[in-house]
Amino acid sequence: MSRKFLFIWIVSLIIHVFWMVNVGYVLPFIPHFFLLPLLIYHRQINTRNLLLMAFATGLIIDTFSGTGGLYAAALLSFAGLQKLYDRWTADPLREKSRLELNAGFLRRALIMAVQIMVFEILFYFFDGMSVTYVFFRIGNILMHGFETWFFLWIFTGLFVYKPSNT
């Protein structure tokens, strides 16, 4: 794991926990900042480390929010899906997803939005442990997903992606 990845991981965790504890009431939902390393570095980290990292992140958030293993289960499933997605879309020559090669600003935003929505669906699924519950909470999922996407996109645009990458 690179130092940059560790730095992003810790920073995203701190931001999330800080937001949750101090300014959680500002918005209807707390944006899932901790998704950031999973969204950006999932290809650079091997499967085992990614799973362990996702599980650890989930447990830390669960400890602070008192949600049992909800975040751990959702993040772990999301990490597993990310790796499957990598396997299906990987370009072996450039070690990069075919979908994200030469992707512009809008395309990256769209891919990130889809990834975040997948996580939100998993999160609400584990919350109610039923698919019906997911449909019942579809409004919350969209709203929560949008908030997360909005903040993460600003964060990545400002600090993570270099202008040449976008």
Partner: protein
């Protein structure tokens, strides 16, 4: 051992995922009532399914033992049944010896089968062999522990069969060309036989006990030269599937044979 390591190395990530997910779900079930009730229900159903499958596997291994017990029980019942009927001129004393099929030789029909009973089990050449469905064949050769049985489809096999409660009889004469049927010849022209009738053993030569089902009449042809009927018989025994058999031995048969062979 190396294979296990390779397997773990290959699917290690997947097992790690399952392990971590299980831990998460356990935590979730302990801390959240709604999720807990659903997970407990899944676990309950899953455990029941697994227990059911394990029991099925256990029962499968227990089947052999049960089969042997049932075979012994059948032996007693057969002996009671076939020695109870008073048939004129046929002395009582048929013994049913349970046996298991070791090998089957299949060409156009089953020429012969090998069973796991031999001289040490007190069986003799030309003893009859039956399954729970009907006649299988007769013992042709013996070793101490095994016996070769020619089946009802073997050209060397011959047997007097008849309609139950009737004087109508005929000889079984196997023919490869009409497999899986066998031919029954020398049936009197005036005999009242129709397709669907069941033919049974007569017990005259003490090879088989009287009344053991052999097969069902499939069709009837008339032999105009000899003025007899020829029946095409479909044997009851399913030779592809049967595995357990009974050898029929009668103590007086060899004495009867020696008399019959006297010039």
């Amino acid at each position: 051992m190396l294979g296990i390591f390779r397997f773990l190395k290959r699917y290690g990530d997947f097992f790690l995922f399952l392990l971590l997910l299980s831990i998460s779900l356990v935590l979730l079930a302990q801390n959240r009532a709604r999720a807990g009730s659903v997970i407990n229900r899944w676990t309950f159903n899953g455990m029941n399914l697994v227990t059911e499958k394990i029991n099925l596997i256990g029962n499968y291994y227990y089947l052999n033992e049960q089969n042997r017990a049932l075979q012994q029980e059948n032996k007693k019942l057969y002996e009671q049944l076939y020695n109870r009927r008073p048939v004129l001129g046929i002395p009582k004393g048929f013994h049913f010896i349970p046996a298991e099929v070791v090998n089957k030789n299949y060409r156009s029909g089953f020429d012969f089968i090998i069973i796991d009973k031999g001289i040490t089990d007190n069986i003799a050449p030309d003893d009859g062999v039956v399954s729970s469905q009907g006649v299988v064949g007769t013992v042709r050769a013996l070793s101490n522990r095994f016996a070769k049985v020619i089946t009802i489809y073997n050209p060397q096999f011959t047997l007097l069969v008849g309609l139950p409660q009737s004087e109508v009889t005929g000889f079984i004469q196997p023919d490869y060309r009409i497999f899986p049927l066998v031919r029954v010849t020398d049936v009197p022209f005036e005999a009242e036989v129709s397709p669907g009738d069941t033919l049974v053993t007569t017990g005259n030569s003490l090879i088989f006990a009287p009344g053991i089902p052999v097969g069902r009449v499939d069709s009837i042809r008339i032999d105009t030269q000899s003025r007899t009927k020829v029946l095409l018989l479909r044997p009851f025994t399913d030779f592809r599937r049967f595995r357990l058999a009974y050898v029929i031995h009668h103590n007086l048969r060899q004495a009867l044979d020696s008399l019959n062979n006297e010039p």
